[in-house]
Amino acid sequence: MRITLTVNGDRVEQDVPPNVLLVDLLRDTCDLTGAKVGCDTGQCGTCVVRLGDRSVKSCQMLAVQADGAEVTTVEGLSGDGELTPLQEALWEEHGAQCGFCVPGMVMSLTDLLEHDSAPDEQAIRAGIAGNLCRCTGYGAVVRAVQKAVKDKS
């Protein structure tokens, strides 16, 4: 099936079989490996990307469902080599240990902060309910979001 979508601002036109997942299109065809396949069952959140204005799990979506959509991956959040304020705060608060979950965390938290400019700790934790960190570094991630919120205000 021929689909056309926008990925990080670039137009992508591609023939895909119906059973290809969005995450596989992004990684294998678009060469964007920020979104990862961790569990492949929708629980771990390493595959989170933005579809339109909402974060979604790209291993739980067929690529053909994204026909006509605007997709943003972690690579498309800021300019080359630059960090968003959230990413900067994660860096400073040691929000990344092994780093595998971080692109998904960043995409979920970017969505959270776009819809709630001043989340409290409970809202932050709810915002990453769909992201698993095997290093269990949640405390540092929560502190980083609190810092990003504080720095902004």
């Binding site: 929708g42 799990k57 739980q60 067929l62 469902q65 969505d111 709810a126 309910a129 769909g130 992201n131």
Partner: protein
């Protein structure tokens, strides 16, 4: 994945025709459940009919009787954020139940119609709200059935599409309480109530729906009677055989949870009661 073909029709009539023309074809809302099933090779689907492009199936409207008409592909995130829903008696209960879904990303894709078929927390809430469904199938056939009856086994048939969820207007207040299983965070037992209170706060009428365990969400009359009895004036409701056991919890434990959670949910609903 065992998926052979896919179509995303632009109109409902085309979608219904596609379902009728291909035996085994399945309609898809957000797709979470179907995609997982296909990954596990639990299903082989000859044709997926994606309802995601049907604008006519999305959004919340005020119904002719003052209730709510919710398009079946409205996402759970859009449902609980909708001003009509938030301003209605259903808002609190639906927000409680939606919060029980795994995470924001699932709520961003999952649809109301899919949540009905899944038969979990949101379905229990809709049963407590006495919600009905409008189903369509090819050849301009149309029928209405309650969420309760649908989950009790009355469909949907393979070529039927849920087009809308209809919540009648009422003065009942709703609330949802649950206990989550600690690892997967699915509900061991969830209880949705729709309650009308008498002046002074006593329970008038109460509708109770539960979820958790192998079966889908359903009403439990024994819990309704217990909730409506005057405090201290009723024996503990008997729930023999109402809950099934599985490898996570016994039916007896779920029944205990249901009694406790019903009391909590009624209290929560009373706190929401504007009177």
């Amino acid at each position: 994945m065992e998926l052979l073909d896919y179509t995303a029709p632009a109109t409902l009539d085309e979608a219904l025709e596609a379902l009728r023309a291909t035996p085994g074809a399945r309609p898809m809302g957000g797709g979470h459940r179907l995609i997982l099933d296909m990954k596990r090779r639990a299903r082989r689907i000859p044709l997926l009919v994606d309802l995601g492009r049907l604008d006519e199936l999305r959004g919340v409207r005020r119904g002719p009787d003052g209730g709510l008409e919710i398009g079946s592909t409205t996402t759970i995130a859009d449902l609980v954020a909708d001003p009509l829903v938030r301003g209605s008696h259903a808002g609190g209960l639906l927000a409680d139940a939606a919060a029980a879904m795994p995470d924001a990303q699932v709520r961003n894709r999952a649809t109301v119609g899919g949540a009905v078929v899944a038969g979990a927390d949101v379905a229990a809430a809709l049963i407590a709200l006495e919600a009905g469904l409008h189903l369509r199938s090819g050849g301009a056939r149309s029928r209405r059935v309650s969420v309760e009856r649908l989950l009790a086994g009355e469909g949907p048939a393979g070529d039927e599409v849920i087009v809308a969820v209809e919540i009648p207007a009422t003065t009942a207040q709703g609330a949802y309480e649950r206990l989550a299983e600690p690892a997967a965070l699915s509900s061991l037992c969830g209880v949705a109530v729709g309650v009308t209170f008498r002046p002074g706060g006593a329970v008038g009428a109460c509708r109770v729906a539960v979820c958790g365990g192998p079966g889908p969400a359903r009403r439990v009359p024994a819990l309704e009677d217990a909730a409506a009895a005057a405090p201290g004036n009723g024996a503990e409701p008997r729930l023999d055989g109402v809950f099934e056991s599985d490898d996570v919890a016994s039916g007896e434990y779920r029944a205990h949870l249901a009694r406790v959670l019903t009391r909590r949910a009624v209290t929560r609903a009373r706190d929401r009661d504007p009177a």
